[in-house]
């Protein structure tokens, strides 16, 4: 124990000295960047995850929920036994009347406990406020859309069935709104106590009963599990985790992506650590030999350097975690606006993660180089050439690869993904390295003279070191270019694909008898030739006369197989689609090729749908390619008109109102109260904001990658500083001014910066073009400006580092520099 403390003290003394004289600066900075990158993402993901759970609970307005067409009295009994808080509500559509106007509304009759989680936003005519309860008895809260079409105002009476209620407020937001597209009618919220008086709900009425459940007990998950076990088979307990599977999956992917992006920074920091540790090893061999000559055992020397690394890890981890915590504030600020909920404070997991990364990186990337020190022969104090054998390549690479694998696996949490990321990263780095090596070799052949030749010769002398620096920096710059320039290019290109007069309003629930009137209305509003497409709900029941085996399908395919389709009828619905196989004119179903692939359908397969209580069976007679960006109504399945004779249908149309024309929308709703309008431009704006914010978050994380690239540069400079100062002194002995020495450095770093910029720009162009063609289905396009941006970034890099390093190289008198 005393020995360990003694070694620790020696390690600490050396550490303080080496931090002061700058020997450990590159390692310290590399660790700082690695820890900051990982903890920033860790804190951010932790907080957004917490917020999403809270938001998911809001989506349900509870911790759990059960829905049924029948009253849920028996479940309420079980819930009470389990001491769960409950709230019940009933929803159903009806027509509400105000004065001479009527409007189809979706009534939601809530009790006094509603909502158990989340809140409502209401506008009482004077203020907009957030409340944690529904309307009091005697009042109705109504969606603004319905209020407008009823031509009513707050304080007016509204007739719901047989009762008269007072409009108390406009309902701006309710927590468990569900899917807005499924909510055909605008909301009218009343108190459950007023329900009986309406006379609208009888035993035979088609209504939806919901039971909300919540608990603050520590074992609430267990209680919900017990409840789920006791539920009748026809009922299902819905938990927040599964309420928004698509959103959750998307965030889980985003979180993994951010984590992996931070790993790129850690890997580059690892490269810096390897370079810096090898230099540190060279410098420390004299000290290690002296200690051995003075009687220290090889074991003791090993222990001293391990202690020193441990202390270094802590020294870097503490400020690194602090930087990570500050950076996540920026990231969290971006996402908080999108999530519309307060982010909870971060937990302590990221702190542990930061420490773990510092240790894994240091012991994986730096320790193997330092193993040599403990084997330094004492003879080295007399004979400079006496050195310990270099550590085995298997140890150097093995430890590095183990560290990388551990770090990637920790972020990916999936063996296959870890393997793919390792292979992808390894391949990209190898390509970058190979190209950088080739460029450096070519540059050496450049017929330069004087300081230019001197500057370029330095790069060529340490070709692998130069290539490593270029590859590391290029990777960082590529990432930033992709996320800044290419991102906006892709979004612009996507927006350009949507014509300025593309439909921005969708109208659904149009009854057949309303079609002519609505067409006339739209004509008056300046919309010529609006197309109305029949739309009906159908459930897929059989494939080739065999019942659909839903268990066969997973994920998206399962959802498609189990939900109702929006089918259309007649060839007109496919007029703007491209038929890729079969014939649209033959009687049968025309299917969008994407869904056909997902569900394993082929031309000629026989599909059976249940439509309006009737079974309709026919073969697939054509496949279509659908342009989903066209903003026109599109359908997965279109049936020939002859198949749907006599089936009741509704219609859908879409049109363009400049800037949404809210007044015209209101006028339209007044004339056609059962019609529901969707203003898609707002949704597009929200999608754009979400993409923008998410990619900005990734951009911030990639800034760490760039910083790690710079640390590689610094580590490489640190490793060659002595040689550089010597060479600069030789130049000055031969009469070169400081200016010329710095000019040589400028040439070296300009060349390095330009190579970095060129490589990054070409890589960003290639990846951007591939993304645009393969992922976004946009025409292949190269942005030549990327070259300018890339080269600009390279020049900026040179401008940042050259003056700094130039000063270090020329501040010592040549005589002193040569002597040292």
């Amino acid at each position: 124990m005393a020995g360990a403390m003694h070694n620790a003290r020696l390690a600490w003394q050396g550490l303080v000295r080496e931090v002061q004289n700058g020997l450990l600066t590159p390692m310290l900075l590399a660790l700082l960047v690695a820890v900051s990158a990982v903890t920033a993402v860790g804190f951010f993901v932790d907080r957004v995850d917490g917020a999403m759970r809270a938001q998911a609970a809001q989506f349900l307005a509870a911790d759990a929920r059960v829905e049924s067409p029948d009253p849920l009295d028996e479940v309420v009994g079980i819930a009470r036994e389990l001491e769960l808080t409950t709230s019940r509500h009933v929803t159903f559509p009806t027509v509400a009347l105000a004065g001479q106007q009527s409007q189809l509304v979706g009534v939601k009759a809530v009790d006094g406990a509603y909502p158990l989680r989340g809140d409502l936003r209401i506008d009482d005519g004077e203020t907009v406020s957030t409340v944690e309860h529904g309307p009091p008895a005697g009042q109705a809260w109504i969606a603004r859309r319905a209020l407008l079409s009823l031509d009513a105002a707050i304080g007016d009476s509204i007739a719901v069935g047989q009762s008269e209620l007072t409009i108390g407020a406009v309902l701006e937001r309710e927590p468990d709104v569900g899917n807005v597209f499924a909510q055909a009618a605008p909301r009218l919220m009343i108190h459950r106590d007023d329900l009986a008086a309406t006379g609208l709900v009888t035993e035979t009425s088609r209504v939806e009963h919901a039971l909300l459940l919540a608990s603050d007990a520590n074992d609430r998950d267990a209680r919900f599990e017990r409840l789920a076990e006791r539920l009748p088979d026809r009922l299902r307990l819905e938990r927040p985790e599964s309420s928004q599977p698509a959103f959750e999956t998307a965030f889980d992917r985003a979180a993994r992506f951010l984590g992996l992006a931070s790993v790129v920074a850690v890997l580059l920091a690892g490269a810096a650590l390897v370079i810096a540790a090898r230099h540190y090893n060279r410098v420390q061999q004299g000290a290690a030999a002296l200690m051995r000559a003075l009687g220290a055992s090889s074991k003791q020397i090993g222990a001293i350097y391990r202690w020193r690394l441990l202390m270094l890890a802590l020294l870097a981890a503490i400020p690194g975690i602090a930087i990570g915590a500050l950076t996540q504030l920026l990231l969290a600020d971006l996402m908080a606006q999108v999530l519309e909920v307060d982010l909870p404070p971060p937990g302590f997991t990221p702190v542990a993660l930061g420490l773990a990364v510092a240790l894994v990186a240091l012991f994986g990337f730096a320790l193997p180089s330092l193993v040599q020190l403990k084997h330094t022969p004492p003879l080295r104090v007399l004979v400079e050439h006496a050195v310990a054998p270099s550590p085995a390549a298997t140890l150097l690479f093995g430890a590095g690869i183990a560290a990388i694998t551990l770090l990637v696996w920790f972020q990916a949490r999936d063996a296959a993904l870890t393997l793919w990321v390792l292979v992808g990263l390894g391949a990209s780095l190898l390509v970058f390295l190979a190209v950088a090596w080739l460029l450096v070799t070519l540059l050496r052949r450049w017929p330069a003279r004087g300081v230019a030749r001197f500057g370029l010769a330095r790069m060529a002398r340490a070709r692998w070191m130069s290539a490593t620096q270029i590859a590391a920096l290029a990777l960082g710059v590529t990432a930033v270019l992709l996320l800044s320039v290419v991102r906006s290019d892709l979004i612009d290109a996507w927006e350009r694909q949507i014509p300025a007069d593309a439909p921005n309003i969708f109208a659904i629930n149009i009854q057949p008898e309303q079609v002519d009137g609505m067409r006339a209305f739209l004509q008056e509003a300046g919309i010529e030739n609006a197309s109305f497409y029949p739309m009906l709900r159908a459930r897929w029941t059989e494939l080739d006369n065999e019942p659909v085996d839903k268990a066969r399908y997973e994920g998206r395919a399962h959802r498609l197989a189990t939900r109702e389709f929006n089918l259309s009828v007649g060839e007109e619905a496919a007029a703007h689609n491209r038929v890729t196989a079969g014939d649209l004119g033959t009687e049968g179903f025309s299917v969008e090729e994407g869904i056909a692939e997902t569900l394993g359908w082929s031309l000629g397969d026989r599909l059976t749908f249940t439509v309006d209580g009737r079974e309709v069976s026919a073969p697939i007679t054509s496949l279509r390619e659908v342009d989903w960006d066209s903003m026109r109504p599109n359908f997965f399945v279109i049936a020939s008109s002859s198949l749907m004779d006599g089936v009741a249908t509704q219609y859908i149309t879409s049109f363009h109102f400049p800037d949404g024309a809210p007044e015209t929308q209101v006028a339209l709703l007044r004339e056609f109260p059962t019609v529901t309008l969707f203003d898609v431009s707002r949704i597009l704006d929200e999608v754009r904001t979400l993409i923008d914010r998410a990619s900005q978050a990734v951009e911030y994380v990639f800034a760490f990658t760039l910083a790690a690239g710079l640390v590689v540069l610094l580590a490489a400079f640190g490793a060659s500083e002595r040689q550089r100062i010597h060479d600069a002194a030789v130049l000055r002995v031969m009469g070169a001014s400081r200016g010329k020495v710095i000019a040589a450095l400028w040439i070296e770093f300009l060349a390095l910066g330009l190579l970095v910029g060129l490589l990054a720009a070409v890589a960003a162009m290639a990846v951007g073009a591939t993304l645009s063609a393969r992922v976004f289905d946009l025409p292949l396009a190269f942005n030549p400006l990327l070259l300018l941006w890339g080269l600009g970034a390279g020049l900026l890099l040179a401008a940042l580092v050259t003056p700094l390093l130039g000063r270090r190289m020329t501040r010592v008198a040549p005589a002193k520099a040569l002597r040292s």
């Binding site: 003279r449 004087g450 300081v451 030749r453 001197f454 010769a457 330095r458 060529a460 002398r461 040689q723 010597h726 060479d727 030789v730 130049l731 000055r732 002995v733 031969m734 009469g735 070169a736 001014s737 400081r738 200016g739 010329k740 008198a813 040549p814 005589a815 002193k816 040569l818 002597r819």
Partner: protein, 243 residues
Amino acid sequence: MSSLKTPADDSQPILTVEGVTQTVRTPEPLTIVHEASLQIFPGEAVALVGPSGAGKSTLLALMAGLDTPTAGRITLAGQSLEDLDEDGRAAVRAGHVGFVFQSFQLIDGLNALENVALPLELAGERGAEARAREALVEVGLGERLAHMPRQLSGGEQQRVALARAFVIEPDILFADEPTGSLDTATGEHVIDLLFRLRERHQTTLVLVTHDPALATRCDRGFEVSAGRVSDWQPDPDALRGPK
């Protein structure tokens, strides 16, 4: 050669050192050169002799403007070095001074030809490569132009350094223990070459050495001992060497 010549009285000195002192903090103040004064005239070969640590190399560095003295005045090629900043002193070196060092001081990343051409290119002179090639041929390395320093032996590296020193036709050449890193035979060969080249190019030579026999090949010498400079006369016993 066993006697030293006296300077020509009718010429102006190319190098004048007046009361030069150099003190460093290590961290206690330590005087390495103590009020040194001497003059060197064009065409002379002058030796600075003394034991290791006497301050010879420090004095050479001060005389060549590679370092600045704590006190005193140095005039090199008509320029008072104390009036010049580092770049000004570099300009004086570029126009008038050549160097040869014990540890060769070649640039690792440049081949032999590029190393020799470098001072000409730094001075912006034309035909640098052709002149560098001639210089290397002159030192017998015409076949090794493209070799990197690490591919050359110690003697060959020092010959490249000689070619680099003479290619600019310097008025004065400072040589700091030029044979210190070489074995005896190679060292003698390099010294022969050095004196042959200086004769051919009419170059003033300041040679730092701890070897009295080598010093006697110069016209005259100064002894540096504990930082103090005095005239040096060869000791016949020392020149005879051990029995």
